[in-house]
Amino acid sequence: MTTALIAEDEPLLAQALCNELGRAWPQLRLLEPAVDGDEAVEGALAQRPDIVFLDIRMPGRSGLEAAEAIVEEWPGDAGALPLIVFVTAYDQYALQAFERAAVDYLQKPVQPARLAACCKRLKDQVALRDAARADASIPDEATLLGRLRSLLGATTAPGESPLSILQAGVGATLHMIPIDEVIYLEAADKYVRVVTAAREAWLRTSLRELLPRLPADRFWQIHRGTVVRADAIATATRDDSGKVHLTLRERPERLVASRLHAHLFRAM
């Protein structure tokens, strides 16, 4: 039986979408709705639905951030990734991004005809996936990952001036770290941890804000919380779940590239 999770912070709208889906697709089993982005991630990972309806603007994590987290943390043995449908009241720019990424989306108030078309598409995709599973062939995740990647890339704001030096405060002293010395950057709550060969430092900024200001050809995002300088990577090894494990030239620790970003590591 096909299952779906709805994430919507406005209770009336969550109920309305449940009702409409009940009419348009009576066989669909609906899980208890999630009331914000964090609950959506928890719910999706715990209950592994086939379909997730994500509102874009939600308290805590946005719909896009929730989608990213679900895809990255989706267990390797949990079967195919869920099909994601974004729901939005009015997001001019996001809509353009959805169109480009060919991701399905609904606009609030949801029109019954539009919802019926969306359900038909979802049924087709679920059927296609079941057939692929019967064949024991690998489900076509590459397309889904590619779409989500382009969507996440399209919605990051264009960066301010590019950075050549990171300024990290340590007590009363400011450490000037040239970006050429940075080996990797790691998001930690509202901070970013900067790791060089010799030391580490903390920046009071979010990785999301910092990323557009780094040269994209040299700094690769390999996980939603990790950015690594490409020429600091020594080896990359893919495991069964699709994740890629990286060793570094000047640091002993290993980094993990999520499935969403694993496409960066392919032999030439």
Binding site: D9, E10, P11, L12, L13, Q15, A16, N19, D36, D38, R57, P59, G60, A89, Y90, D91, Q107, K108, P109, V110, A157, K190, S206, R208, E209
Partner: protein, 370 residues
Amino acid sequence: MTVHAVTIPTSPALPVGAPRLLALTAQVAVVNVLIAGVIAMLGGAHLVNTLVYSQCIGLSIWGSIETGRRIAGGGARDWPAGWRLASLIAIGCVAGYAVGLTIADTIFGHSSWRDYLHAPRRLLGEFGPTVAFCVLVSGGFYLRAQARADRLRMAEATHAATLARLDLLQSQLEPHMLFNTLANLRALIDADPRRAQEMLDHLIAFLRATLAASRQAAHPLADEFARSADYLALMQVRMGQRLRADMTLPAELAAIMVPPLLLQPLVENAIKHGLEPQRGLGALQISAQLDGDTLVLRVADSGRGLAAAAASGAPTQSGFGFGLVHVRERLQALYGDAARLTLAPRAEGGTLAEIRLPIAPTAISAPIEP
């Protein structure tokens, strides 16, 4: 609701610089020819001589005044006013007459100065009419520049007022808010028609007030609270249990006249950037009180706080603080430094927005129709 683009007609741009200067010179030359014609006819003087003298003196006076005007006035099209204008014309006439006469004399190998020395009355007879013409022509140019500047100022003022009104409307009728409200309304029609009707009534009141506010100079504080209450009622339906709002307006303050849309943007801001993005419950307290002859309006929320709002990149999205910038600008325009809007973190978490404005009779005006 459709917002039409508004184009304000302004006077066509005149060529500035060399082409404009040439055009003006030609105009002055034509006037000189006319003057020479009149003098030749009346005085029976030699036409060619008169024409050359007229051109030399006319152009040189015009040149002196134009140069002086640019040095004193600054702009290429500004004229000074009052005594500055009078002295500009006086000095321009004397200097220009002297220079022009000398040039014409050089051309004809003559010395008018020696003539004047022998017959001072002649100087008066020739310089007098020149001054008269000069004042006439300068006056014409002055009035023309003045009219043009007035037109430009009017157009600019209208333009600014229209833009401000559009800004206000757009910040109030935010599409995300409207479509979410409509989606809730659509859901309620199915689930609870009576509540749907109530919600629709609040939406109607909210829209009517927003459209009226852009044309109204002031309304009673009770109305401002009522409009905020309409907005809160809409948000209450949308956010359900998550929002707990509470409004306090002392009865004796209800009739105080205030500019419209001062309080409501603060309430919207508190919900949009403080409570809505925060997980879990949120409380909102809206109050008015008197502190001497200062009216204090407060909106306190238990939201995620200023730092979090700024860190989430809110400034680039949906204009964090845009509504507040607007409130601040309007306070500045209406009250100068006597009124102010402050935002501060609260000790118990969340944000306190506070408006302080004087309620002196001069600050309170009746509604003005545009």
